[in-house]
Symmetry: C2
Subunit: 703 residues, 2 copies
Amino acid sequence: MTEGKSAFDALFHPRSISVIGASSNTAKLGGRTFRNLKDLGFQGSLYPIHNRDQEVQGIPAVPSVGDLPDDVDMAFILVPAPSVVQALEEYAAKGVRSAVVFSSGFAEVSEEGRASQERITALAKETGMRIVGPNCMGVMNVHEGMLGTFTSSFDYGLPSPGRISVVSQSGAFGAHCFVLARERGLGLNLWATTGNECDVDVADCLGYMAQDPQTEVILCYMEGCKSKERLVGALEIALQRNKPVVMLKVGRTEVGAEAASSHTASLVGSDAVYDAIFKQYGVHRAETIEELTDICYACVAGRFPPGKRVGLVTISGGVGVVMADAASQAGLEVPPMPDETQKKLKKLLPFAAVRNPIDFTAQALTDTALVRQNLEIMLDEGGCDAVVLFLASVGLNPRLMGQLTDSLLELRKQFGQELIVMSILVREELKKTLEDAGFLLFEDPTRAIKAVAALMKFGEAFRNAGKKQPPPALPEGGLPFPTSTVGEYEAKRVLAAAGIPVVEERLAQSAEQAVAAAGELGYPVVLKIASPDIPHKSEIGGVVLNLDSAEAVAQAHAQLLERAREHQPNARIDGILVAAMVSGGVETILGVSRDPVFGPVVLFGLGGIFVEVMKDVTFRLAPFSVEEAHRMIREVRGYPLLEGVRGQPPADVEALAQALAQLSAFAAAHQERLETLDLNPFIVLPEGQGALAVDALIVPRED
Amino acid sequence: MTEGKSAFDALFHPRSISVIGASSNTAKLGGRTFRNLKDLGFQGSLYPIHNRDQEVQGIPAVPSVGDLPDDVDMAFILVPAPSVVQALEEYAAKGVRSAVVFSSGFAEVSEEGRASQERITALAKETGMRIVGPNCMGVMNVHEGMLGTFTSSFDYGLPSPGRISVVSQSGAFGAHCFVLARERGLGLNLWATTGNECDVDVADCLGYMAQDPQTEVILCYMEGCKSKERLVGALEIALQRNKPVVMLKVGRTEVGAEAASSHTASLVGSDAVYDAIFKQYGVHRAETIEELTDICYACVAGRFPPGKRVGLVTISGGVGVVMADAASQAGLEVPPMPDETQKKLKKLLPFAAVRNPIDFTAQALTDTALVRQNLEIMLDEGGCDAVVLFLASVGLNPRLMGQLTDSLLELRKQFGQELIVMSILVREELKKTLEDAGFLLFEDPTRAIKAVAALMKFGEAFRNAGKKQPPPALPEGGLPFPTSTVGEYEAKRVLAAAGIPVVEERLAQSAEQAVAAAGELGYPVVLKIASPDIPHKSEIGGVVLNLDSAEAVAQAHAQLLERAREHQPNARIDGILVAAMVSGGVETILGVSRDPVFGPVVLFGLGGIFVEVMKDVTFRLAPFSVEEAHRMIREVRGYPLLEGVRGQPPADVEALAQALAQLSAFAAAHQERLETLDLNPFIVLPEGQGALAVDALIVPRED
């Protein structure tokens, strides 16, 4: 064993590997894996274990694990499932610190397999050995030529070394990724498939890659994650180090989720929670495999623009419109060029449209100096954070493209830092020249725009991470968390003590107390039955609104008690709640629910049909800052309602954001006890007037 | 002139072409266009006009248009803008029936240019000559080698003949299309760019292509259309002949629309209206250029599945999930395989997931007979309308792929009609073999799924077109259409007479009449001020709800008159409206607005914030059938509200659909007089109880 290395270093930078199940027959997985290790550039020592043969594929065999030297970093296990545990035990006894179990036949096939897999998990815990798999396709360090996988696709091309690291729960998908990367000309660094994740999981690998100095972009395929701490920890490191994580997380729709759970034995959390995490940690969630590679490709250039303003240049007006549409749909701005700039551009190209998109028409290509001048003016004065240039199929025309390339390379020297993306059909060689100069190239203009949008979002996430605020503190002297479901009065008292604004109210035990309370609160008031046994009060007429006199209050008091008696004679009645009448404002819903993996998840949505019909809600893991709450609020489609529509004043979004963040802190503080929590409705009053919970429900976890 | 041909036949199938502005210098547009006509396969006669040279590029020149023989079908005009009108006049005098004006410098640059262009339009009308352009890139008939355009990209490859016809308003985009088609291996038939559309427009070409027996798919790029009749007529023919139209219509977002209107001098109608037309006529509106070519590629195979059930087969479980997600998002069904089928599949491949997606894992590829057996079972018994097969990068492995191809080709013979789509990385030659056998191939699985969804939608549109219902008839004895804006009472009488259900109500001139009316209608009732001068009654308290006694009615009557006097002393008061109180039901909005190009457009949306915040509305051109109204209603995102949420009963969607269709017939009948019409709210009662307009407003056109 090499000293000073972590088990993870041993996994990704081994200097010596022992392979059990290695074979001279390369039609077998053990033979192919061994050949890939032996022939494709790995410089370390290889120790095949074989109890009969003297050598495997020309490398001296070691008769048993016990006969190995002491400096073995990693073991590759390719024996049948029933022999895996013993092999691991022997390697562990030999002090080997990491292992990759390729063998299948575990939790994915049977209960017996699951039991074996649990023994491997236990072994990893006992010995500290880090174990990848079982049922995986191995690991690679492309820079070190350690291509530890059994794929046969290396016959048709090797992965090239680069700055993208890949971690995939699925072996087949991981293999597909390196073929896609190779075909796209993308270089890889580390690569791991985690399979059944008996010990090492996607989050572990993500965390290692986030800290790996040679990794600049992480491509991740995930079906589910069992550890909040590891996943969130890894994403936090990546974010702090400005390393984009591009994620394909499967299981978005119901059908998809069904397929995901039959595919692996993993626990797939609710998809909305993953969405929340990805937003919170600036992860780009790709919807398609093409998008996954597009965005990785774009990230490798390492240019994350400082803002969302994009300049569009085209030789076809129509495509200019297509790009402008796509940019606007992707949340980018397409600012008009300043007037002076427009004049300059117009002088150069009288036929051109010069506002943005700039359409300098195909004619302009006959004078590439002119194209360069145009771009120079735009980059200099346009105030854009990125430029996208549509050049149709000019790249297929060697004469035109030769001149144009020279101009573009000159331009690149002048504007080294700018993100300049081209949509162009171009032959491979020229493509490489332009990419090496730092241009990004896409055939389709919409894909180019989407890539720019992703880079801009990463830029924003990295900047936000740099100035990340803590979640708010809870005030001193909070009330104890309820031990059983409590009615709204009690719930609101607990929330108010935690700094969450609630409607002012009193619990009255008599008509006289109710009238007195109304006097203190000021008319009009609302009266409600307060009973832990009647959660849906309004269904039995248990709420009376808009009472504007002592008589009305006294009458309503009697009426409510009567209705409770009538509908639920055995209900415990805490009293009658007298509350200030809240009128106006925008109805929202704040809530918390407990995810079995990720703990308390905070929900925000607009009230009523927005939530029930449109499912217009968004989530975050608790706790989070007021700034994060602001981002969250702006994500719902109904947000314009808070800005004021139909002549309504803008709502107090700051108060709402503070309440959301405060709720997240409260939920985090009580995560061991909290099952669900609802503030519904939570009314956001006009700007400057605050926001408050009108009703509340806290449900603690059952023990 | 050739007898028996239409001017459009002359345009797309000319036997002789005269080119004015032809030059021996191929650096000039006139030289390049002439060379392309001369050298690339056109078999007809060419008559270059040249007043000095004896020949142009070796072809004898004709000194002037007047000297031409009498059999010239088409003229290509490449002279400078100021000489264009004269040239056209001379050709027209010679009896030439079609012309293409390439020259720019018309409406797109100046008022003077616009005036010249108008002269061309007038000339076309006077002479019957059909004129394409100006400011266009020409026309082609690829089968006949008539490549009438000045592109230089033919130097790097010619378009190959095929079954897709292309019409593009933008020349540059049209040129880009044939390069994209060539790179994608798609064959073209007719191709036209319409430029400024002084006479021939996109719709004309669409109509010709829809009737052209050699055209099976139409790719169209459009910025705007000036004629409803031509566009709708063309799309109707395409639909009736089962020819898919794949459309890129630019100007979707505000920024995009701005760019579109600065790009051409064309009138760009409201984008929502185009969406309505495309839905109504089964046009696939592509959002991206890539999608445009993807869907055309898919359509060429001519397989439009009979339903929406898709079977998914994969060698990576993860990608199975990606495909299932994409299918579900695209509105496809991913039905589980029947139990018996699952058993059979499981027997063949014990490790496979067999529900749907079927994941037969990469292992299965080692036995291609097994793959074939699997697919056979699935196609035979799975009850799917299409199958998508993810094969990762197997196509790059010649050994595996060779065997697999044989199996797949066998399978194709057995299931000749099925739509089978593969997502696979594959080298060009093998790709062609599989495509020739009728498989569709995409690299990205999501793009494969989207193509299947598009084909399924086309199939649905073709089937619907086959059983298309007429719009409902208007009842006899309708009331005259109002000549000025009328109040809700009058509006509802007119609508009711047209067969559109409205709330039952009476106009009362006194408290006694109001009480009598309430008695007839039955309590509770609503009272409203009826005045053409007070359109927003509720703002001045002009509506009193839920009156349940004669006293209450009498009191409300007095109160309303008082309020009207107070707020608008000079308003004309028609009386007080007494209406039955409608309670329950779902609030919707029905409306009509007049589009300057497309006439009355019917709107449907759910009431309140659904319309105002979510813009959750959909449109159709009037008139349309009840069936079309049903499709329309199901398009809004809030549709679940009509199906019943929060314990509400399902709404009477049939009554709603009938009212929408009836409204469309009414709008069409009065399209010359109607400016806007609103039924807001239009209440849809629970199933079986009907639907009715509670308020209405009709605004006639100003003369």
